[in-house]
């Protein structure tokens, strides 16, 4: 019996593949890739990996401007019709050429409800796509849709022939893209190894291979960095960052992102139905302390529920000052002293922020009950009726489109599942901004929308989140606001 | 006066491994008259303890009848059984496990009186004190726990508990075989004295023929689930009719070298067969020094020979 166990044990160990190679890059991610198929992706870790395998229709440059990738140029034929000119020199990893048919197939695949893409809602403004030339495709949208280009940044182009040949399920395991890296091995729960695509049209990547390892525990990720088992990791907290600051072999790479840390305040139920209570909360929360103490400075103050990295940011809308005395007075005026607020949360959110807010509100006479649930239960309640949704919750929102439409529309537009706020004037502004292409006019609408939000306080912008990466000092890379993780942009420093 | 215990054709079978039932007791009949003590002797596995457990209603008969003071136990319901048990009490072999170690002696002795609503409070205490004195213990022992007593004292406590309800029949299952020699005499004296004083009937189960002779009026010998012989004491010991009885008597070592070494040896060969597969014919024939053909073929009749009842083809 013991011998059998021993043999089993040895066999297993021999079956486990060898250590990642030195001329490769090792990335520690908090989790494993859930789906490799870009059109099925719903989580950040999958997103981080597959984007290195696929090209997108368009991309953003270092300054955040929409830039060509598969598409070289685009123009509006009318408000609802956009024509894209495509590159003709791109080949997939299997050697076949990337054609307009592949682009059309990719669009149709993701907007087909039967395919059940988790990203459907980001693309469902597109009604149809068609090939309109040997190197040209045309997209039609339901209404004029200003955020379209921002969304297309996330549209990965998949090879039609391969997908049809393998079927969706197998394609998900054995993806073929046209990006700088190709999939070598995917060991579920352990790691994904990508090999450089030497024939890449933008040039040869700086690494022979990239290994993305799943390391759920942040302290283990840090330990891996220290011991040289990993070259770069993401998803570090400001405290982790502080701890790593003194490490000579490591560097911290930080960038303010389009992710807005905010607090939801229920305007339709509970003690916070009273606008004065909501305004008092806005004044009770000491955002400066949160930024300096909790975030250790890894955050930028904001005045509204949007970051400067998004289109639609209006810097001159006044934020609420930190004024506990006035907050207390307002609460007294509203007769809400000692009222109990339910603060819904899940382990996905920063526990410390919850507890800090709990204490800040306690100081102005509001009792806060932190109710922790697991993520599905949290979502069910938060997205349910106003009565279920609790009085408060925190969030870190990013639409990965860098547009106000992707933030305040789902958060506060009446009828949206997240919104526990109904204000016809606000609805009118955001609806209008959604269907105009002219940036100047859109900005005006957003200014008025943010004025309303400021007064009504259905949510409080806390800070602009800063993404923190830690890497070996020799790695050269500039992270971007949209948290894209393009290994193509990295290299060893000479 | 009718019999205190009347057993007719009693059989008790247990489910055995692999189909064949274990015939622990297979067709036993006897009775006990008021005031009489019947000894039941035999070697281990002969079924004597099964008989005693059936008499007190702890086992149900597979076949036959067990009547205690005229009440039939076979097929009786719980109420009947409970009522009958008030009149039949038992003394067990092992005085250590016969008493709940977590219960005081007083509580143990008083339990039958308490749960049957005979006495409570001060009256119960007085009864318990009297019972303890009756078996030669001090009333102040009531507050102690069993582990504070020696084996002999514990057996006295067990007897006191059995006497609490003044039973008509006392079943003693090897009451002295776990006791040291010097204590054994104390308990035997006590049992003999109590029988005489209280006029109880008694079923006395033992493997020790000398002990049985000492306390019993009549003696039944069991072998492999059946009775071999049943006779008045003097008849059985003076003139055993069954070859098994003879062998058994010959095997008992007398504590007197002069007697013991002069004794004729009746060597019994072999071992007791399994009660799951008893031999055909006379069950004793496999070990019987006298066995002839008929013994192997025909089950001997239970018949009267002189004063004795015998199950042997050859008994004269």
């Amino acid at each position: 019996m013991m011998r059998a166990l021993g043999l089993l044990f040895l066999g297993l160990m021999l079956a486990t593949p060898a250590f990642a190679q030195k001329d490769g890059l090792v990335v520690d991610l908090p989790g494993d890739v859930a789906t490799m198929d870009p059109h099925l992706q719903w989580d950040t870790d999958s997103y981080t990996v597959y984007r290195n395998i696929f090209d997108n229709l368009v991309t953003r440059d270092a300054t955040g401007k929409i830039a060509p990738q598969v598409a070289t140029a685009w123009r509006y034929a009318d408000d609802r019709t956009i024509v894209f000119d495509l590159r003709t020199d791109i080949t997939f990893h299997d050697g076949s050429r990337l054609t307009p048919e592949d682009v059309v197939f990719s669009v149709q695949r993701i907007i087909n409800p039967a395919f059940r893409s988790p990203q459907l809602s980001q693309f469902d403004q597109i009604v149809s796509a068609e090939v309109t030339g040997p190197a040209q495709v045309t997209l039609h949208t339901k209404t004029p849709y200003p955020a379209l280009m921002a969304q297309l940044v996330k549209l990965s182009i998949v090879p039609k022939a391969v997908v049809e040949k393998l079927g969706d399920q197998r394609f998900n395991q054995e993806v073929v893209g046209s990006g700088p890296f190709r999939l070598r091995a995917w060991q579920r729960g352990v790691q994904t190894v990508l090999d450089a695509n030497d024939a890449y049209w933008r040039g040869k990547p700086a690494f022979r291979s990239v290994t993305f390892r799943a390391v759920p525990d942040a302290s283990t990720r840090i330990a891996d960095l220290r011991t040289g088992r990993a070259d770069i990791t993401r998803g570090l907290s400001p405290d982790d960052a502080e701890a790593l600051k003194s490490e000579r072999a490591l560097q911290l790479l930080t960038v303010p992102t389009e992710r807005i840390a905010y607090m939801f305040v229920n305007a339709q139920a509970g003690p916070t139905k009273d606008k004065r209570v909501r305004q008092a909360i806005a004044m009770a929360v000491d955002r400066d302390t949160i930024i300096t103490a909790l975030q250790q400075g890894y955050a930028k103050p904001v005045n509204i529920v949007l970051t400067p990295a998004n289109f639609g940011y209006v810097p001159d809308v006044k934020g609420w000052p930190h004024d506990p005395a006035k907050a207390r007075a307002l609460i007294k005026e509203a007769g809400a002293e000692g009222a109990t607020l339910q603060f819904l949360t899940s382990p996905a959110y920063d526990r410390r922020l919850n507890e800090a807010v709990q204490q800040m509100l306690g100081e102005v006479g509001l009792k806060v009950d932190i109710v922790t649930m697991d993520q599905p239960t949290y979502l069910r309640r938060r997205q349910g009726t106003p009565e279920e949704a609790g009085s408060l919750s925190q969030g870190r929102w990013s639409c990965a489109c860098q547009d106000a439409d992707g933030v305040i529309f789902p958060l506060f537009r009446s009828g949206s599942i997240w919104s526990k706020f109904a204000n016809p004037a606000f609805d009118a502004e955001v609806d209008a901004a959604r269907t105009i292409l002219d940036p100047g006019k859109r900005l005006e609408h957003y200014r008025r929308a943010f004025e309303i939000l400021r007064d009504e306080v259905p949510g409080i912008g806390l800070f602009q989140d800063v993404a923190i990466y830690a890497a070996r000092r020799e790695l050269k890379w500039a992270p971007t606001a949209n948290e894209a993780f393009f290994v193509m942009d990295m290299k060893w420093q000479p | 006066m009718s019999a205190v215990l009347e057993i007719t054709d009693l059989a008790v079978h247990f489910p055995g491994r692999g189909g064949a039932p274990i015939r622990a007791v297979d067709g036993v009949s006897f009775h006990i008259a008021p005031g009489e003590t019947l000894g039941l002797v035999g070697e281990s596995g002969c079924g004597k303890s099964t008989v005693s457990n059936t008499v007190v209603g702890l086992l149900a008969p597979t076949r036959g009848s067990v009547r205690v003071l005229g009440t039939e136990l076979a097929g009786a319901n719980r109420r009947t059984l409970r009522a009958v048990r008030a009149r039949v009490q038992m003394v067990f072999q092992d005085p250590v496990t016969s008493l709940n170690p977590r219960m005081t002696v007083g509580a143990a002795v008083g339990e039958p009186l308490l749960v049957r609503g005979v006495a409570r409070g001060a009256a119960l205490r007085d009864r318990v004190a009297a019972l303890l004195e009756e078996v030669g213990l001090r009333p102040d022992h009531a507050g102690r726990y069993p582990h504070q007593f020696s084996g002999g004292q514990r057996q006295r406590i067990v007897i006191a508990r059995a006497l609490a309800l003044r039973p008509a029949l006392l079943v003693c299952d090897e009451p002295v075989s776990a006791l040291d020699v010097s204590v054994r005499a104390q308990i035997l004296n006590l049992l003999v004295e109590l029988q005489a004083r209280l006029g109880m009937s008694s079923l006395f189960v033992s493997h020790d023929l000398a002990v049985v002779r000492h306390v019993c009026d009549r003696v039944a010998v069991m072998y492999l689930g059946c009775l071999a012989e049943l006779a008045p004491r003097e008849a059985l010991y003076a003139a055993p009719r069954h070859p098994y009885t003879r062998a058994l008597l010959a095997a008992v070592p007398e504590p007197d070298p002069a007697v013991q070494r002069a004794k004729p040896r009746v060597p019994l060969s072999g071992e007791i067969p399994s009660p799951a597969a008893p031999p055909a014919g006379c069950r004793f024939h496999t070990r019987c020094p006298m066995a002839v053909d008929i013994c192997r073929q025909k089950v001997p009749e239970w018949r009267k020979v002189g004063e004795s009842m015998v199950a042997c083809h050859l008994a004269e």
């Binding site: 044990f9 486990t16 859930a34 809602s121 729960g189 352990v190 789902p410 599942i417 | -």
Partner: protein, 306 residues
Amino acid sequence: MLRHIAGRVGQAIVATFGVLTMVFFVMRLSGDPTLLLVPEGATAEQIAALRHQLGFDRPLVVQYGAYLADLARLDLGESLVQRAPVAGIVGERIPYTMALAAGSLVVALGIGIPAGIAMAVWRGSVLERALAAFVLTGQSLPTFWSGILLILLFGVNLGWLPTSGADSLGSLVMPSVALGALTMSTFARMTRIAVLDELSRDYVAAARARGLSLAAAVGRHVLRNAAIPVVTVTALEVGNLLAGAVIVETVFAWPGIGQLAIQSIAARDFLVVQTVVLFVSVVYVGTNLLADLAYAAIDPRIRMGA
């Protein structure tokens, strides 16, 4: 013997079925994964449509029936979250957990049983006291704490062993030690009791009266007899090891089914959870059956059906 084994298999099937049923309903009561599968900006209609597509708007009993029907066809289904066959997802993780369980068993048996024997044979000695302290320590250490301390010491400060992952034999050492500690204590205690129990029996005295040394008596007679309770515990402990793997795998980022189970419960990936539970339950039941067979190998009384 055969009948006994058949009976055990029957019991095992009933138990496994009970487990599946219990887990099915408990999971379903906790809500479905639809909300986790839609992007943050999805509308209520989109969510409802997806829920309908996934079949979570059907009555629970219907879903249960459908699940059993699939299971009867040996179809474990497709993961809702990973969009891949569950059999593969769980199957890829199983070797890791088995390796971890085997590693911990090696630690637990390799240390626990000799320690238990030594404690019994040298009862009352300084060695026994030292071993008792060691065993008690193993039994009282919280796995996650010892895990962190191990990582800190051997991984970070000394740099002897990899801090996480599953890509070399070295990575198996720390998780195995952390997970095996508790089981090691159980084995040591059980072995000690079993050996003491046997040492007090007459046959040991008889063997020594025959001229065997204590060591020979232990080696020739005691260990075989003491093996039966130890085998029983081994079988039960495999279940405990799989359970303990949940925390250890999380701490050490060990990609086994424990980690998968936690993630899948959080993601409400029903079929994955069901399959993990099914697997664990089958392993538990299977090891207990093996233990039954081992008894027969050890003990002629069982082998011959006495």
